[in-house]
């Protein structure tokens, strides 16, 4: 059995690419994603996690922290916008 302590960058790189592809397809074509925008926002977390895995496989730790913190700020602003659109009944 191959020990994963030597092959850890390969594992995280290919897993990150797989998560990126699957997550991007899920954001565009996912179930009920075109009706409710909050489901599309939740699906968007999966490719972000894939990008973070690719960065951690190259030992770019500061880049990964920046991605995660900008992701959290993006959540705050987008949740605010979704609530405002629901209040204005201008969504559909």
């Amino acid at each position: 059995m191959i020990s994963p302590t030597e092959t850890l960058p390969w594992i995280s790189f290919y897993l990150g690419i797989a998560l990126l592809v699957i997550g991007s397809l899920g954001v565009v074509f996912g179930p009920k994603a075109s009706k409710e925008p909050i489901i599309r926002l939740i699906n968007l977390t999966v490719p972000i996690t894939g990008i973070a895995l690719i960065f951690i496989s190259y030992n770019y730790t500061l880049t990964m922290l920046t991605i995660l913190s900008v992701n959290t700020m993006f959540y705050i602003i987008t949740i605010r916008a979704i609530i405002r659109l629901e209040e204005m009944e201008a969504l559909y």
Binding site: P4, P31, I38
Partner: protein
């Protein structure tokens, strides 16, 4: 003697979180699967022995989950007040 190393468990957690998070249809189930995905990410970072990064990213991931849930409750209340829910 079969040995299961720790990063395999992290890989299985991340695959379960991604597939379950994309294919569920109710929003609260998707959020619970996102918590599993964040667990896998933090354990994968801890396998690299970047402990400060793991500490900061645990803050980021779970605070993001809590923010999404606040928005979800507010959206459902507005839909209930408009009468579109059931």
């Amino acid at each position: 003697m079969v040995m299961i190393e720790f990063p395999y468990a992290a890989v299985i957690l991340m695959i379960v979180g991604a597939i379950g998070g994309l294919l569920q249809t109710r929003p609260i189930d998707k959020i619970l699967m996102l918590a599993v995905l964040g667990d896998g990410l933090i354990s994968m970072i801890a396998a690299y022995q970047y402990l400060d990064v793991a500490m900061a990213s645990s803050f980021m991931t779970f605070v993001g989950i809590i923010i999404i849930m606040i928005g979800l409750i507010r959206t459902l209340e507005i839909k209930k007040a408009r009468g579109e829910l059931f």
